[in-house]
């Protein structure tokens, strides 16, 4: 390796050259390597060797071909032979990741702004709806005397940002749902969806129905 008073530093930088060629260094390390390459021609020459190895390794691997269809057929035959798997509810983080995964940065920026506004509006509108329960003849709130608190089946729902008060009102009436609590952080409402607990298969079917409804932005079972 290079032999000057900065030899140990240069040795550690030389060790990083393969990752610099592959573009997998942190920004800070990449900048260190770039600076060293700019001031040390011998290091730059060695980096050229690294780049040769990098290219040759890619070419070598690309000439290895691909597995036959047998691998995939064998895999899915074995998966089909596996015992049926109980469907587990994904974690909240996974749901959020799945949601944001489908958005471009520009969409995300606009959606964030729209969502904040919509949540504020919806909170006010639904608050009005809840306070009017019993007088409108519409859906019942948790305070309705016919259902004891804590009894029933519940979901958390965030309404779609574009849903209007009429949309939400119609949605709640049509499904005989009642708002139990909310909105909490992120505009989530706890909603009673049945007067008695639902079987898991019924709850799964309901979740699919809710998630397909344009009024609903997000829905998940809760206790």
């Amino acid at each position: 390796m290079t032999s000057d008073k900065n030899a140990p530093e240069m040795d550690s930088i030389e060790e990083l050259l393969p990752w610099h060629a592959a573009g997998t260094l942190s920004r800070r390390d990449a900048e260190r390597v770039e600076a060293a390459l700019a001031r040390d021609p011998e290091l730059a020459r060695r980096f050229a060797l690294v780049r040769e190895e990098f290219g040759a390794t890619i070419t070598l691997n690309e000439t290895l071909g691909a597995p036959s269809a047998r691998a995939m057929e064998d895999l899915f035959a074995r998966i089909d032979a596996e015992p049926a798997r109980a469907r587990r509810a994904p974690g909240f983080g996974a749901r959020i990741a799945a949601f944001f995964d489908g958005l471009t940065p520009r969409t995300l920026a606009w959606a964030s702004a729209a969502a904040v506004l919509a949540i504020v509006l919806q909170a006010g509108l639904i608050g009005v709806m809840v306070s009017k329960s019993g007088t409108t003849g519409g859906y019942e709130t948790a305070s309705a005397p016919t259902t004891a608190p804590g009894v029933g089946a519940f979901t958390i729902i965030r309404f779609a940002p574009q849903a209007t008060m009429d949309d939400i009102n119609r949605f709640m009436e049509m499904n005989h749902f009642s708002v139990v609590a909310g909105p909490s952080g992120g505009g989530l409402y706890k909603v009673r969806v049945a007067d008695a607990p639902l079987a898991s298969s019924d709850m799964s079917a309901l979740m699919q129905k809710l998630q397909a409804d344009k009024v609903v932005g997000f829905a998940a079972p809760t206790r």
Partner: protein, 186 residues
């Protein structure tokens, strides 16, 4: 067009989503196959092993905690499967493969250079590295894994990753020199 991230696919696979499994397989099976093939040097064995790797992914998806990239996790599984398969192989088979790997070295350096361009010789020398050195070179250059990710896959400290890569490259230079190509390093 938006595509689901690997992490989202794993979450769906954990729920038994067969389609998500197909997407993940389509996305990664060639690279996983090549990684395994470079270790076991047998196409039929490599094909069998990728089925096992992805079956493990199907079974273990619910336990994936997202501490590493999905591809890093899968390469770790693939490596374990490949090394287990190598341990199960009869010694005779290994000897035959070792012989096949080195028999191309019989030409003297000048003849070799006359027959092939430098790139071809370089690729042959990459093939002639030990399994340990091939593995790290492939992970860094072909699979584009960071120091930290290689450490996770191979199960060694990050400092060892750097020194192992350095010695793999040094060995490569020695093999090239034997074939008449002196790179002036190390």
């Amino acid at each position: 067009m938006q595509t689901s991230s690997d992490e989202v696919l794993i979450s769906r696979i954990a729920n038994g989503d067969r389609l998500a499994m197909q997407v993940l397989f389509a996305r990664h099976h060639v690279r996983v196959y090549r990684f395994v093939l470079r270790l076991v040097r047998n196409e039929a064995t490599a094909e069998d092993l990728i089925s096992e790797v992805f079956l493990d992914v199907w079974r273990q998806a619910a336990k994936f905690e997202g501490r590493s990239a999905v591809s890093t996790w899968m390469l770790g599984i693939a490596r374990f499967k490949a090394l287990s398969a190598l341990r199960r192989k009869p010694e005779q088979e290994l000897d035959e493969e070792t012989a096949a790997a080195i028999e191309d070295h019989s030409d003297d350096p000048e003849v070799t250079l006359a027959k092939k361009d430098k790139g071809a010789v370089l690729r042959e020398c990459l093939t002639g590295l030990s399994a340990e050195h091939r593995e790290i070179v492939d992970l860094v250059y072909y699979h584009e894994k960071s120091v930290e990710e290689v450490a996770q896959i191979v199960g060694i400290p990050e400092a060892t990753v750097k020194t192992r890569m350095f010695y793999a490259r040094k060995k490569l230079s020695e093999l090239l020199k034997e074939r008449g190509i002196d790179r002036g390093w190390p």
